[in-house]
Amino acid sequence: MTARKNPGKKGGSAGKAGKTVKTTARKAGKTAKTTARKAGKTAKTTARKATPKASSPAAKTGRAKAAARSGRKAQATQRRVFSFGGGKADGRADMKAILGGKGANLAEMTTLGIPVPPGFTISTEVCAEFNQRGGKLPVEVKADVLTALANVEQLMDRRFGDPERPLLVSVRSGARASMPGMMDTVLNLGLNDRTVRGLAAMADDRFAYDSYRRFIQMYGDVVLGVPHDRFEHRLDAAKETRGVSLDTELTGEDWRKVVADYLAIVEETTGRPFPQDPQEQLWGAVGAVFSSWQNQRAIAYRRLNDIPDDWGTAVNVQCMVFGNMGDDCATGVAFTRNPSTGERNFYGEYLKNAQGEDVVAGIRTPQPINEESRAADTMSLPTLEAEMPKAYRELVRIYKRLEKHYRDMQDIEFTIQNGTLWMLQTRSGKRTTGAAVRIAVDMARERLITKEEAILRIDANSLDQLLHPTIDRDNAPPVVARGLPASPGAAVGEVVFSAEHAELRAKGGAKVILVRTETSPEDIVGMHASEGILTAKGGMTSHAAVVARGMGKCCVAGCGALAINYAQGVMRIGDHVVKEGDTITIDGSTGEVMLGTAPTVVPELGGAFSELMKWTDKIRTLHVRTNADTPEDARVARDFGAEGIGLCRTEHMFFEPGRILAVREMILASNARAREAALEKLLPMQRGDFEGIFRAMDGLPVTVRLLDPPLHEFLPTSDEDIHAVAQALGTSVGEVRHKLESLHEFNPMLGHRGCRLGITFPEIYAMQVRAITEAACRVAAEA
């Protein structure tokens, strides 16, 4: 870490794995927007003028396409609600700008024939309109939504608000760039006192009333602004009354009572009964999701990730499928390749009998989907492959199809309802830089992409992360706890227990490790400010893990041995007590936690990295040299592929502790002879430096800059130093002080330095040139 030259760029390198993905996503988005705009413009032109004047061929094609797209002609391009379902979709993957990433990919998957619950996407353009109109949906949009909803009803053979076969929907955000967890979601929408009975008839009371209370809670929180805690307290009370600790242990009757109380809480807080009309619920949820584009955490996330405020989010309304209807149900998240290492293994986690939010929230420990996903020292839980082989095989078939289609590693979400697999999301998966390199190189070798594409897929800034240090095992303190290796790298820092403290302490220059039971989207600024993140709960796809990987931060998640007491600012790890401010070390590559500071070492770079670098060398025309002032720097740079030294500064050589006194003697000497005597001492040291550098560069060009210091940087300031110089020069302290005053400059940057110094004190450069030449001769003689 100490050798890295850009400590100030630490923040800059964060979030880079995510950025690689984003860049691609953004590019696609941009193209889509341009196309959409063009098409839109052309369409308008057509509508306004019956006979358009001469136009470019591109515009003609655009117009022809726009007109041909449907019988509705020009209106087709102004569509604001896009249906998908039953193998047909209005949208496509390249329409991220208006459909958002989620909506565009749901449409694309539907067209590919992949099982996606039917639904529709309200475009990002409506978001801007909605927020400008002070939170009102345009009437035409409402009409289009109802038409699209009718289409879903037909495809699913269910009706919205029907007491016997009710259609339930999810309402989710989906911006052009992924903003995980930043905006609001409402699930199970369409439930009310009547439809809940229909749902119960399809499954059972426990499931139906649990779903209803989840809906009231989410809707209450997101749309009606009823504090989340109020519901949670009630739920805790219910569990206490029954003497149980898990939600799943409550019966249908228990849930029915919880629902009644929840409804009362809503009425009490808002002064109005909970909306029973499904349509009213729908408009409320759609509005809340559009508004959530403007919430504080979404705004903060956009700042950190350079996402423009005017993009807006789309809203996806989709038929609910349930992973929590029984033991033949499940929900999970998977990556088509390992997002941490890049290995070509299908990798994921799932929870049986659970809703999707449970996996991401990290409340229950998820099971691995297959043996490859099993973490070395975690759980011996059964895999999806073993538990639901048919659904697993189907999932494998689909992931392969998706990866081939998108030509990139995908992050997918799925739900299995009564043994039937449904895909809920696919997107380019966030990955560590190491994984990004490995995946790009592997995919080029597999001929899925070209070498050029592989090169363009890596965000150059993110390579910094590959050079992140790892822990020096031989000299590290003992491991006191182990969690999941959620995001690689090593971090040493002071413990902080809140995101706010992390931010504050980091601003003060401290290196901190954020320790939380689990993280949530409000914590991102603090996470960004931290060196690393340690959580007590949650899996490899928990919020902490996903965000840390995206930021390129080291993270250990789900470290069950931690008992954190936020109020007292302490945590217990076994017998150890760690207070806020104590130093710990975490290793995100192994999941280990250590007390105190562990020394770190720079890692070996993998085979994929050298392969990629070889490809870059064949393609590029610009040469890359290094700035190196020491043999050590020169060696490191050679190992990284430097083709010479572009700048070798000599003043740094003068700063070394054993030399600075001789340098000061030289500067402060009152005559040339005294100066030469000082220079005589410096000559062998300089020559030695150059020999080392030339040897390391092994014949490659080295550009040396002769001494160019702003003079004041060398002058002694402390009494002690002044005394030492006076003694060395055999003069008085007063004499030295006088000399120092005479050397004072108003603007040292433009003062007595560089060639000016060379003209006034030619013997300095004479010594340096001699050292360089002699060193070159000696090294040449060795070879």
Partner: protein
């Protein structure tokens, strides 16, 4: 160096936040300003001596956007700190790919 550090700490971050500049010009070269001087220097220098070898050293040599710019103005090399060498090699290759694809390199 000291003055640069002061500038960066005092007002540049505010400029970036306020959108007055896109990036800290000490991190990523200001193409419209200093970048034009580099372009001019390369052009005039090579007009006098076609085989003039030109390189840039310092922070910009390790900033991908700047590296792409330097590739596009035809410099021979960039020089950066050792740990940023791989990054500069990759950025230089990306510039070459983008040029070959007909896109603008910088």
């Amino acid at each position: 160096m000291r003055s640069r550090a002061t500038t960066r700490g005092s007002f540049l971050p505010h400029y970036v936040d306020a959108g007055l500049i896109q990036a800290d010009p000490f991190v990523s070269i200001d193409e419209e300003g200093i970048g034009q001087l580099v372009r001019l220097g390369a052009k005039r220098g090579r007009a006098t001596r076609p085989d003039l070898k030109l390189g840039v050293c310092g922070e910009h040599g390790g900033d991908p956007a700047s590296v792409r710019f330097f590739a596009s103005v035809g410099l021979d090399y960039v020089s950066c700190s050792p740990y940023r060498v791989p990054l500069a090699r990759l950025a230089a290759a990306q510039a070459a790919v983008l040029v070959a694809q007909g896109g603008r390199a910088a």
